[in-house]
């Protein structure tokens, strides 16, 4: 089984969000970048398949050279090889198009993406990629088992879960649950050392026009200070929620 795990390189969850250049760009100053958490869950599941059932795991990122530290981390966690498509991602459509080329060239059976990235929260790439490839697709995936060419998946639905079956080839939009957080791996020294010797192939991008562009960023308006209410005066809270906030 050949598995491709798509990883995106995103600001760490605790990063302060600032914009620069007249609010047209995300300010990377002092920001630590990590593997997108939804992708890390998928990567860990892929490594599990490799160790338990036998699979070859490739990670891919569409990005500039600055993402290589993140890619090396994925190799240190256990991926066999890596691909970087050398172009700065513009929108989900353009990224999916680059990834589709990689999937076609490598004839992957299973493609695991995170259901969304924590920077632009677009939730676009997995579904677009599956459509471009005509692969089967399950989104918001919280469980996956594969036997031969049959897959059984669990996906989250509003207010519950649903179990689905389908065949390979398959694209998954994964999230926490595909593995649990306690099963995530921290790269050890040996992993980090061997990652240095693993192949990181840099590919030239294909022509792919974006269909959207980020023109400007804004920060939420500063909040007014909290209104403190004495625990002995809960009637006041109820009155504020009813008359001022109008939420009850």
């Amino acid at each position: 089984m050949k598995i491709l795990v798509c990883i995106s390189h995103v600001p760490d969850t605790t990063a302060k969000i600032n914009f620069t250049n007249g609010d047209t760009e995300f300010d990377t100053n002092g920001v630590q970048f990590v593997i997108n958490p939804n992708d890390e869950f998928g990567l860990t599941r892929a490594i599990w398949f490799k160790e338990k059932q036998g699979a070859h795991v490739t990670v891919v990122n569409v990005g500039g050279a600055d993402t290589e530290a993140t890619i090396r981390k994925a190799l240190a966690i256990g991926a066999d090889e890596a691909i970087r498509v050398n172009t700065v991602p513009t929108d989900g459509f353009a990224v999916a198009k680059q990834l589709a080329e990689v999937v076609k060239a490598g004839k992957y059976d299973v493609v695991i993406c995170g259901k969304e990235s924590l920077d632009y929260n677009g939730g676009m790439v997995p579904g677009m990629l599956a459509s471009m490839l005509s692969y089967n697709f399950v989104n918001s995936c919280v469980g996956v088992e594969i036997e031969g060419s049959n897959a059984t998946l669990v996906r989250e639905i509003d207010g519950g879960k649903e179990t689905l079956t389908t065949n390979l080839p398959l694209v998954i939009g994964g999230q926490k649950g595909i593995v649990e957080e306690k099963d995530l791996r921290i790269p050890n020294m040996r992993g980090i050392m061997t990652a240095r010797t693993k192949a990181l192939n840099v590919l030239d991008p294909v022509a792919a026009d974006a269909k959207t562009k980020a023109v400007k960023f804004e920060k939420p308006a500063p909040k007014s200070a909290v209104k403190l209410i004495s625990p002995d005066n809960l009637d006041e809270l109820i009155s504020l929620l009813h008359n001022e906030a109008k939420v009850i």
Binding site: P11, T13, T14, I17, G92, F93, A96, L118, Y120, N121, G122, G123, M124, V125, G127, M128, S131, N136, F137, N139, S140, T152, E156, I157, D158, G159, G160, K161, E162, T163, T165, T166, K176, G177, E181, A210, K211, T212, K213, A214, V215, K216, F217, E218, K219, P220, K223, V226, K227, I229, S230, P231, L234, L237, I238, L241, H242, A245, V247, I248
Partner: protein, 322 residues
């Protein structure tokens, strides 16, 4: 040319998000000088959509579509858009619609923007404001393609009633066998409980509640308010509550009108999941808890005293106001 919405129908009625979508689409259509068409799957009575601004409903009735199927439903939306010549297609932000939207976008060769929180900033060029960075920022996105697909964030526009009635038209779609390659085997739904995704009000508890045996008071407060219950991450990690209730950056996002946080410190990863909620109330013993910085109303006090008392008073309030 009309603006097309996909109106989700379940258990005999339109979901509230479908009515919100209709309200929003009406305003977008007015700006563009056109009308609103809704496409529905196996809906029975579609008249309610007219009250929120829909002019025409394309009714798809097909037993093969009894269960949600992303690829087949995406075909429905795509074919409806093609029939209407729609340049703007709007979906909601339910798990199902977010599953469909990128497939629809590729089918229509359209740009797609999710998490849209307001009416378009401009329609020529077509620019929308969307949440990004887990609601720590907004991004104005321009859709440069001829057809545009957008998904509206929940509770970001509200309902706006309109006068008028929707005409209904049966619409036959052509489906391929490959649309049905993914099969649903079973569903597990928490019945009788409000789900976090649909909730107007959410009552959430953190590690400050000390143990699962104390959740009765959270549930009682939630009951009075018709609210869903939720929790912080350590609470679900400790198995005090199910993982489906875990709210935050690695858990579920909440976009309720009211979020009540009890015994939750307000770590940045938790706040990332609740930023989109409108009014936040915090109950915490520690006046320095970071949650007070983002809350609208705060009570510095012991949950074990405040929550039962608040529940009692809310019961009285509800009895007098209904």
């Amino acid at each position: 040319m009309s603006v097309l919405i996909y109106a989700e129908f379940a258990e005999g009625k339109f979901k509230k998000v479908a009515l919100e979508l209709a309200s929003y689409a009406k305003k977008v259509a007015e700006t563009l000088g056109t009308n609103v068409t809704a496409v529905t799957v196996n809906a029975t009575d579609v008249s309610e959509l007219g009250k929120y601004g829909v002019d025409k409903v394309l009714k798809v009735t097909n037993a093969k579509l009894d269960k949600f199927n992303a690829k087949a439903y995406a075909d429905v939306v795509k074919q409806a858009a093609q029939k209407e010549g729609s340049k703007v297609v709007i979906l909601s932000s339910t798990t199902d619609s977010l599953y469909l939207a990128p497939i629809v976008a590729v089918g229509l060769d359209a740009g797609y923007a999710s998490n849209v929180v307001a009416l378009p900033v401009s329609t020529n060029p077509f620019q929308v404001k969307r949440n990004a960075f887990s609601s720590k920022g907004f991004n104005i996105t321009e859709l440069t393609s001829d057809v545009k697909v957008i998904a509206l964030a929940k509770n970001s526009f509200g309902l706006a009633e309109a006068t008028g009635a929707a005409s209904a038209e049966d619409f036959a779609v052509s489906l391929n066998d490959t649309d049905f390659n993914v099969h649903i085997q079973s569903q597990e739904k928490a019945s009788g409980k409000v789900s976090i995704a649909d909730a107007e009000v959410v009552v959430s508890g953190g590690r400050g509640l000390k143990g699962p045996e104390n959740w009765g008071m959270i549930e009682e407060l939630a009951n009075v308010l018709g609210a869903a219950t939720a929790c912080s991450k350590p609470v679900s990690d400790l198995d005090w509550r199910p993982h489906s209730e875990h709210v935050g950056q690695t858990g579920k996002p909440v976009a309720s009108n009211l979020y009540i946080a009890v015994g939750i410190s307000g770590a940045i990863q938790h706040i990332a999941g609740i930023n989109a909620s409108k009014v936040k109330v915090v109950i915490n013993t520690d006046p320095e808890a970071p949650f007070f910085k983002v809350a609208d109303y705060g009570i510095v006090g012991d949950a074990f005293q405040v929550v039962p008392e608040l529940t009692k008073k809310l019961k009285e309030f509800k009895a007098n106001n209904n």
